[in-house]
């Protein structure tokens, strides 16, 4: 498939991204670069200096809401990509309301309890919606441990064991690997090449 044809398909597709930190911001930019039609972003947080070791933000965006900063960046890369930016903390009700019309949903939360909440919500209330989740990307190295696991329409990407904490911070290279693998699985689904 030539890029023009890929772009034509993707320009009609909508991807939801829940959380715009390390995973969400990088996956959003990767999808914008290939010409996705619309991104629905949600995050309650603002950009901090400590985010810049992995998240797709800039020094002059510190203090800005992450979703609006990302919206500005995406406009500079892919003006044809529409961005719905929601400054909000998601819960089951708002997840269903915001993402029910998406073609794919990317779970890019930081906290494990939020990951559990969105996966349960999607599996129960949005059963036809493919969900891509990132689990285990702290630290560095160990490329060979990062993999995709599929169960039904749920795709889990990461090493499954590297939890982020003070001694094991998430860093740009490994977060970048996982977030781009998430975007790559989204393309597999959107371009109709995923295995059922």
């Amino acid at each position: 498939m030539q890029f023009q044809e890929i772009q034509q398909i993707l320009s009609k597709r909508v991807v939801g991204i829940a959380g715009c930190g390390g995973l969400g911001s990088n996956a959003a930019v990767a999808l914008a670069r290939v010409g996705i039609g619309k991104l629905i972003l949600a995050d309650f947080d603002t950009v901090e200096l400590s985010n810049l070791n992995r998240q797709y933000f800039f020094i002059d965006q510190i203090g800005a809401p992450k979703v609006t900063a990302l919206q500005t960046t995406i406009a500079k890369i892919s003006p044809a990509t529409a961005v719905d930016a929601h400054i909000m903390k998601l819960d089951p009700e708002t997840i269903v309301a915001l993402y029910r019309s998406c073609d794919v949903l990317i779970e890019a939360f930081d906290k494990a309890e939020m990951k559990e909440m969105i996966i349960e919500t999607a599996l129960l209330r949005l059963p036809g919606l493919p969900l891509i989740s990132g689990v285990g990307m702290a630290g560095w190295g160990r490329n060979d441990r990062i993999r995709v696991e599929q169960t039904g329409k749920l795709f889990i990407i990461g090493d499954g064991i590297s939890e982020a904490d003070e001694e094991h911070p998430p860093l740009a290279p490994r977060v970048g690997v996982v977030s781009n693998m998430m975007a790559n699985v989204a393309l597999d689904i959107l371009l109709g090449s995923e295995k059922e």
């Binding site: 990951k115 349960e120 599996l123 689990v135 169960t151 889990i156 590297s162």
Partner: protein
């Protein structure tokens, strides 16, 4: 009890014919707090971990969710 746990065939050492999700977690020493559990492809919610059971031959997935993103 022979079952498929996270895509691996396992023989769980137990006298019981049925194990609840929490009993299975304890036997396997699965200590992670946040999970997605599916039995034969059906989602099991957190408040069902003491009531929903698995039996011989079941296909069980217990996915651990950890922080970082």
């Amino acid at each position: 009890m022979k079952l498929t746990l996270n895509h691996v065939q396992e023989d769980i050492l137990t006298e019981k014919m049925l194990l609840t999700i929490n009993e299975l977690r304890a036997l396997k020493k699965f200590s992670f707090k946040f999970l997605v559990v599916k039995v034969n492809g059906v989602l099991v919610l957190r408040d069902q971990y003491d009531t929903v059971t698995v039996k011989e031959g079941d296909f069980v997935e217990i996915i651990h969710l950890i922080s970082g993103g």
